[in-house]
């Protein structure tokens, strides 16, 4: 009997090499992130890898022998929906190549779960659509007041009677206010969305606040030929609220009612208490809201009239802001309407708060405005000259500079009490001007940043550069007057924002 050799035969070696090769390739297929399935030409599944089990949500034993179907993939790849148990589904991208399985023609399909990718793509597409729509609305909505301002300016140039000039001035004031409010809303929505608005809550009497807002908007309603009725509780209704923000909410609701009302229409506001909530209802008999838009109306950029060419309804930011601000107060806002042409109703609910302690009565302080040396640094000639004119009308002595270098040179020469410095300046920007001025003059000069950038980080950056205050364009002259008045007490120079 022959002794078996301890060494492998050539066949054993080949077998081992074959096993090693198969293990190698099996590991590749098993570890593939993409699902791989092999189908007979009838569509019957003969092989699935672990990733395919995950995509198809079934074990290989259950899948083998089932008919998957012959994939119809006209190009490189197509999408299919894989049905999961309990009605769920995922989107898979399928690619197919022909192959052989056990000597017969077969198909090799790869499956990739693209549900999340599709979702992200959809979100991006929607965001782009939203942005495009917004830009179109923004462009349209800014053009309208701008057109009025341009015409009114032309009237001022040509007309020599007082009445026309007064009317033109009123148009400019009104339309500038409108543009300013749109831009403020836009900025505020962005800030609320990013969680950057901090409420300054105090105990507020909602009845009194509503009265003020109604009073502020009386002229607006009169101009639109609308009848207004206010029904309020006989007793104060207190809430813990940021009065500025709730005023903003009510102003937005009221201007919204005005925009969507027809001449000789009606607007009603009621304020009452319901259980542990106070309810403010703004109601009109205007164009109304279709039922399917009652929820989406609070989304940014939404307008009841979606046809831009026919709309004159603002940026569609007002109600988005209302919802976010009321939400920040722990309240809610709801829209209701019986349909187009049947008016609409907005109900704001805020948690009730106990009455405050009796207030300590302070003697009112009277600010005395004294002429000051003011330095205006602004590269836009119109903005610079109009601001100069305005300040001179108040009796101040005004010098100007048009760029950063000029500003740094002239500030030494003029040594102003106050410098109003634009941020986006040629040569040296406003921050650099502030740094240099502060280095040379310390706290002797009061520096106010004048900028179109109104985000909190812009304010912080301005204060870090040495500015005492940060004022957003367009300039609110009442606030500017306050800043100038504060110069008297500016020795204790605390950073302020306006």
């Amino acid at each position: 009997m022959m002794r078996q050799s301890k060494q492998d035969s050539p066949v054993d070696g080949l077998r081992r090499a074959l096993h090693a090769s198969e293990a190698r390739f099996r590991a590749i297929v098993d570890r593939s992130a993409d699902g791989i399935i092999v189908l007979r030409s009838s569509g019957e599944i003969v092989y699935v890898n672990p990733a395919a089990e995950v995509v198809l949500d079934q074990q290989a034993e259950r899948l083998i022998g089932k008919n998957f179907g012959v994939p119809a993939v006209p190009g490189d790849a197509t999408e299919i929906e894989v049905i999961r148990d309990e009605g769920a589904k995922i989107i898979a991208e399928i690619r197919v190549v022909t192959t052989h399985w056990q000597g017969k023609p077969a198909l090799l399909a790869t499956l990739r779960d693209i549900t999340e990718r599709n979702q992200r793509e959809r979100e991006i597409r929607e965001a782009i659509e939203c942005r495009d729509h917004f830009l179109a609305v923004l462009s349209h909505e800014l053009r309208n007041p701008l057109a009025s301002i341009v015409s009114a300016t032309e009237v001022l140039r040509r007309a020599d009677d007082d009445n026309s000039q007064r009317q033109a001035r009123e148009v400019i004031e009104r339309e500038s206010r409108h543009m300013r409010r749109m831009l403020d809303d836009l900025l505020d929505v962005s800030r609320v969305t990013k969680g950057k608005i901090t409420l300054r809550k105090t105990t507020v009497d909602l009845v009194e606040l509503v009265r003020h807002v109604a009073g502020d908007n009386e002229a607006l309603m009169r101009e639109a030929d609308l009848r207004f009725k206010l029904t309020v509780s006989a007793v104060p209704l207190y809430a813990q609220a940021d009065s500025t923000r709730i005023r903003q909410v009510l102003t937005n609701l009221l201007t919204n009612a005005v925009r969507y009302s027809k001449p000789r229409g009606h607007i009603w506001i009621t304020v009452c208490c319901e259980g542990d909530e106070h309810v403010i209802v703004v109601c009109d008999d205007g164009v109304g809201i279709p039922q399917n838009r009652l929820d989406s109306i609070f989304e940014p950029f939404e307008q009841v009239e979606s046809d831009i060419s026919r709309s004159n309804c603002g940026l569609g930011m007002g109600l988005a802001l209302v919802k976010k601000l009321v939400g920040l107060h722990g309240g809610s806002v709801m829209a209701s309407s019986d349909g187009p042409g049947l008016g609409s109703e907005f109900a704001v609910r805020l948690p009730a708060a106990p009455a405050p302690d009796p207030p300590v009565i302070k003697q009112p302080q009277v600010d005395e405005i004294q002429p000051r040396k003011i330095f205006v640094v602004e590269d836009n000639a119109d903005a610079r000259e109009t601001l100069k004119m305005l300040l001179e009308l108040e009796g101040h002595v005004v010098e100007t500079a048009a760029d950063g270098r000029q500003a740094v040179d002239l500030i030494d020469l003029h040594r102003p009490d106050l410098a109003l410095v634009d941020i986006g300046l040629p040569i040296h920007d406003g921050y650099e001007v502030a740094r240099r001025a502060r280095k040379r003059w310390g706290a002797k000069v009061r520096l106010v940043a004048l900028t179109g950038y109104g985000q909190p980080e812009d304010r912080r950056r301005a204060l870090d550069a040495g500015f005492d205050a940060h004022v957003t364009k367009p300039l609110d002259y009442t606030r500017l007057a306050k800043l100038i008045a504060q110069l008297d007490s500016s020795n204790a120079s605390q950073p302020t924002t306006a």
Binding site: S42, P71, I83
Partner: protein
């Protein structure tokens, strides 16, 4: 009874599904002379039919008659070669074929 019967499984209703159904109807009218029946099954509404038919993914088209049964899944907006893939021999008009495989019944 029409000679050909098809079941078309979709999940939900979207523009692509509607386009696919239109495309299939056109194909049936032009190549089968209208001698067919096409039942559309929404698997989100009738999951039991999908389960009973062993449908794993949508859109899936099953030729239920005449025998043998055959099924295809994927993109039906471009139906060239579809009938051949389903093993449908009858053709009123010559049509373009894409399939490189001989499809046999299930």
């Amino acid at each position: 009874m029409p000679t050909y019967s098809f079941q078309f499984f979709v999940s939900g209703e979207n523009a692509k599904h509607l386009e696919a159904i239109e495309s299939l109807k056109k194909l049936g009218d032009s190549c089968l002379g209208g001698d067919y029946e096409l039942k559309v099954v929404d698997v989100t509404r009738s999951p039991e039919i999908a389960r009973a038919s062993g449908v794993l993914a949508t859109p899936t088209l099953i030729k239920t008659a005449p025998a043998p049964r055959a099924r295809i899944l994927g993109d039906f907006c471009n139906c060239g070669g579809l009938l051949q893939q389903l093993g449908v021999a009858k053709s009123r008009k010559p049509h373009h074929t894409l399939a490189s495989l001989d499809v046999v019944g299930e």
